[in-house]
Symmetry: none
């Protein structure tokens, strides 16, 4: 007595359309976040995406869901970079600096994310958690290798280092990405163990 689904195939069509809508929302949100920061009104995002506010809420019940979606892909990419660099680089510390370069590049091109991470804003805990779950382990891989090789001080944790790098990437009119890069480089130089 099997249930024969009345509409088996057309579902894919609708799902595809919904997926496109979802992506349009994410793209619009990313753009608006650059302009206005992650606290931008939902309505602005909806308008930019050309959808109704209800559509945003359907796909992303909370603001944090949307923020997370916007940055997830890039966070994953950044995370996946760590083991690759570790394998390719001459030393763990070199890998760490290269990875930090990539992380900085990611942060400074995502205006507002750094501030979002540091804001402690409730409702952005998902994003915070995402960072913790993906980037911190990636960073830890590199840092542990450095520590094992005696290249860095052992009392610096991956989380603290990432948070510090994130903070250093909060740019503004008189402190641009070049400054951020230079300061991050200095920070890494500072944690290097002078053997």
């Amino acid at each position: 007595m099997q249930e024969d689904r009345p509409v088996p195939e057309p579902l894919g069509v609708r799902q595809a359309r919904a997926q496109r809508t979802r992506e349009a929302v994410v793209a619009a949100a990313a753009a608006v976040f650059v302009d206005q920061g992650v606290q931008a009104p939902i309505r602005d995002i909806a308008e930019r995406a050309g959808v109704g506010v209800g559509t945003i809420y359907r796909h992303f019940p909370t603001r944090a869901d949307l923020v997370t979606a916007v940055y997830r892909h890039q966070i994953d990419t950044c995370s996946a970079l760590a083991p690759r660099l570790l394998a390719e680089s001459a030393s763990p510390y070199t890998a760490l600096t290269r990875w930090a370069d990539a992380f900085v590049e990611f942060l400074v091109t995502k205006h507002g994310l750094g501030a979002a991470l540091g804001s402690g804003d409730p409702g952005l805990e998902n994003l915070h958690g995402l960072m913790l779950d993906t980037l911190v382990p990636a960073c830890a891989t590199l840092l542990d290798a450095c520590t094992a090789a005696g290249e860095t001080h052992p009392d610096v944790t991956a989380y603290t280092l990432m948070r510090a790098i994130g903070n250093l990437c909060i740019t503004g009119p008189d402190y641009d990405r070049t400054d951020a890069r230079r300061m991050v480089a200095a920070l890494l130089a500072g944690v290097r163990r002078t053997a």
Copy 2:
């Protein structure tokens, strides 16, 4: 039922009262900023100060004016510390690290100020300007001395360094003042020229 005006007060008395009101507002704002951050509702500050909201607007037309007033004294103190440390310390770099310690101490005890500085929030430009006008020269005094002594890289500007330190002092649940101190120390170690 005529209005019987009381004897008009001497001008000095009125001004003194206004000054006291102003100080009460600043004190209340400082307390509220610690609890709620610099974006706290004006009304909360007014209530804490025991004045009407209009009074706050009279004394501080913009929020930035209030934020600035709250931190001005401490900023001045911090600024005045620089030449003293330079005179007392064995080397310019030592003076710089000590001064940074004091600056970090100031920032991490002022919940939300670090974030305010880094937020790029329009309306907080006054505070930004205050930093520029007082702390940057103070920091520059030390940094220039370091550079002159060949202790630091010459391509690090006082403004950039201050901004970086400010960012590193944006604390949170998992990144406290101890972490901030350690990261600032690492940053300064990183800008030191290894002669």
Copy 3:
């Protein structure tokens, strides 16, 4: 060193104005409640009162506060009626029926209050509490006297009776105040102990 209040008298003027505003809001709310019920949009009430929504929220932080204010006076009046009727009437039961008449009259002229009382709507607990605190004791005075005189069944509580009367006063197109009065009369006849 006494604080001499700078503005002692004008306060009364403003307070009087605020009081008038408050009363205008209550009057508008009463009218709107008749038209739309107690769940009417706050904006509608504000428009009817000729004030901004903020003014409503200033005076009545919750909807229940407003509902309560609308009916408080009449509830108090109704409550105060009970001892008077008890003193004037030939028997406690007569007093009870007269008081019920007054209560019914109050309810049926306040379209929506009966439904509000019976709705169990959270947020209207204040009103419920007001009823409990003022009308139930008034009713109990009469009912206890009846019971003491052996005129009514002792297992009917004042609260239950009031609630029942309230329910019977939920009128509609085909069940008007005349019907409500008749049904309440029948109910009271039913609780009368046939000696």
Copy 4:
């Protein structure tokens, strides 16, 4: 990539499936009404029934249609009870009280229906009409018999009585079904003509 239509189903099969869907919706609605009242969101009902919201709108264009469908069967049962009780009972009044007991039982176990009936909510007129068309005649059968036997006051109409009973069955935290039963019994006692 041509659409390969499956063999078209016989009409009867499709209709049967539609009927099952309809019944699933009614069952889900009944359950949701108990939990949330008759104003529950349509989506909640659709989810509980495992269908899309569009399906509900197809079968029941208005909310009242759905409410009506949910209670129709029980209303019919209750209605059919009247002549049976009249035949079985010792007196018309006894039949009336027994029928009222059944009606009360129906109402108090259907959370929210009593309030729905008394709310005067436009859009629930269908339900109102259903009551009028089926229950009122049933009640009238009994009431007319009572009046003819001189057991009740002739000026109480069946509609008014039913409405009153319905109102008395609006229960809440402090007025439960036991109270409702007692009050209905009192009401009926009150309309009894003391010969």
